[in-house]
Amino acid sequence: MLRFITRRFLETIPVLFIIATATFFMMRLTPGGPFDSEKQVSPEIRARMEAHYGLDKPLFQQYLLQMKHLLQGDLGPSFKYPGRSVNEIIADSFPVSLELGCEALVVALVFGLAAGMVASLKQNSAWDHIPMGLAMIGICVPTFVLGPLLISAFALHLDWFNAAGWYFPRDRVLPALTLGAYYAAYIARLCRGGFLEVLNQDYIRTARAKGAGGAQVLFKHALRGGILPVVSFLGPTVAGVLTGSFVVETIFGIPGLGRFFVTAAFNRDYFMVMGSVLFYACFVMACNLVADVVLVWLNPKMRFE
């Protein structure tokens, strides 16, 4: 197990390196620079600003400089928000995204697992068709349609929530639901599939032959096999939840990292982009590692490999 983890750690380093390099060159080679859209500044002032940030040096030199800074953990300054470093911005905004992501995941897991398990137990009944139908809707209605719809219904018409902002606990509800819906739907379907397959296995028959009741069969015997597909899905999902938050953050006006990233990309805020990309990549790979470890732990057969 330990070897597995260390191996994964070692793999991430070259990957991060490649990502950093790719991002660097992609951003720098994109037409348009960070100061292009500033209000009419004279060319001299523009040149001065660029020099200040070291943007006038030859590209390769900038690259090496960037790498050096990265290794030191210094993500550089932000162009869009002068006076604030990228590290600061990430430190401020990521917790927001993280909170949103976690709440969305909780929504997704609670609804998804419950719906999936019930559907698998009562296959082909109303308890199966209705949740699965809703799940299909959840997959097919994009977040940026669902979000405005929820806002329109619950915030504007019913006035139960604010339409935007991230100030009160109540503000968490609509964004979490919007973001979580898609994943709840996916999890429900995966869970149902996983459980159906498990419930047809011989060892479930044995459990019943031993006199085990419905709940015991479900939770003691079927659960570990049944949620395997959900767990494998969760690894990349965490990534998705965090990145899917781009849209949700935009719609609901949430000051999360996603929103900063998108604006940074638009504005050619180089260091911000690099910082966010690397940060996301690290976080996502860490989550995947955790998911994989959990997967191996759940399946005794794999533990011995």
């Binding site: 082909n124 047809n200 296995q201 011989d202 060892y203 028959r205 044995t206 459990a207 019943r208 032959a209 031993k210 006199g211 085990a212 009741g213 015991q216 003691k220 015997h221 570990r224 096999g225 759940l298 399946n299 005794p300 057969k301």
Partner: protein, 326 residues
């Protein structure tokens, strides 16, 4: 009173290609301590009969259409789920053919072994674990303490089957149903497993239903044998009578097909033809198309199992009507 009394059991499967009548009008009785063998080819309905009794037939697509299975005074086919769960695993236990797939790969052996105790008896985990250890010992598994903590895939085939047996017998049931327990095993291990079942049977005084396609195995083990074909009982008799006074052409064919009993160097005897298509059963006796004794009414009249000699039932129309010698 008989321990188990099955009357006119009918089980069918409603598949997308039609209805399969897996078990048709099967009746038999089982006394305490008796060993009954159910023999038949794949698809003869022998396993489904046992699943029906135990309530293990998946209900769609399967359906128990009619019949009673009286265990004591409880009709297993009509009782409540709770009643059934109280009986399963405690008074009637079942072991299955493939121990690898029948054991939960995600749980330790110890956990699965003590489960019947925890479900059916008021007993602490420690006490249950002690009994599990004793049971593993009885089943011939050495180093029981370590084994308890292992997972199914760490055992060999024969050992897994021993674990299954231990698991089934830990509650000292009145009846053990063994569905082809040796089919997936090596020949040497087969004998050991059968020995184990016999030993436990003697100790516990329980009845055993042994399901197999191998007439040879059944002959060495059972008091009575029931031969099934296409969902129906063709012949039912004490073992010796079945062999020495066969009263059904199908049984005769089976007997003659046992390779060990044939002379070396001669062509192996087979019963020509195929079992009938379960979706389109032919009218009359299902064995008629393959039967060398068949006459015209065989393919027309419905068959029934009737006693043609003391305690000896046969469903062959010709034996019933004309006392045909098969």
């Amino acid at each position: 009173m008989a321990l188990l009394n099955v009357e006119n059991l009918r089980t069918a499967f409603h598949t997308r290609n039609g209805v399969v009548r897996a078990v048709q009008d099967v009746s038999f009785q089982l006394e305490r301590g008796e060993t009954l063998g159910i023999v038949g080819e794949s698809g003869s309905g022998k396993s489904v009969t046992c699943y029906s009794i135990m309530g293990l037939v998946p209900q769609p697509p399967g359906r128990i259409e009619s019949g009673r299975a009286l265990f004591g005074d409880v009709d297993l086919l009509a009782c409540s789920h709770r009643q059934l769960n109280r009986i399963r695993g405690r008074r009637i236990s079942m072991i299955f053919q493939d121990a690898m797939t029948s054991l939960n790969p995600f749980l330790r052996i110890g956990e699965q072994l003590i489960e019947p105790l925890l479900i059916h008896e008021k007993i602490t985990r420690t006490a249950a674990t002690d009994r599990a250890l004793a049971m593993l010992d009885e089943a011939g598994i050495s180093d029981a303490e370590h084994r308890l903590k292992m997972y199914p895939h760490e055992f060999s085939g024969g050992m897994r089957q021993r674990v299954m047996i231990a698991m089934a017998l830990i509650t000292k049931p009145d009846l053990l149903i063994a569905d082809e327990p040796t089919t997936a095993l090596d020949v040497t291990v087969q004998a050991q497993i059968l020995e184990l079942i016999r030993k436990m049977q003697k100790e516990l005084g329980m009845a055993v239903i042994l399901v197999s396609h191998d007439l040879g195995i059944v002959s060495g083990f059972c008091d009575r044998v029931m031969v099934m074909y296409a969902g129906r009982v063709m012949e039912s008799a004490p073992t010796d009578d079945l062999f020495y006074d066969t009263k059904h052409p199908y049984t005769r064919g089976l007997r003659q097909s046992i390779p060990a009993l044939q002379m070396k160097g001669t062509e192996l005897h087979t019963i020509p033809g195929q079992p009938p298509d379960p979706h389109h059963p032919p009218p009359g006796c299902p064995f008629a198309p393959r039967c060398s004794h068949a006459v015209d009414y065989c393919a027309k009249e419905e068959i029934k199992l009737l006693d043609v000699a003391p305690k000896h039932g046969s469903a062959c129309l010709r034996v019933q009507k004309e006392n045909l010698l098969v």
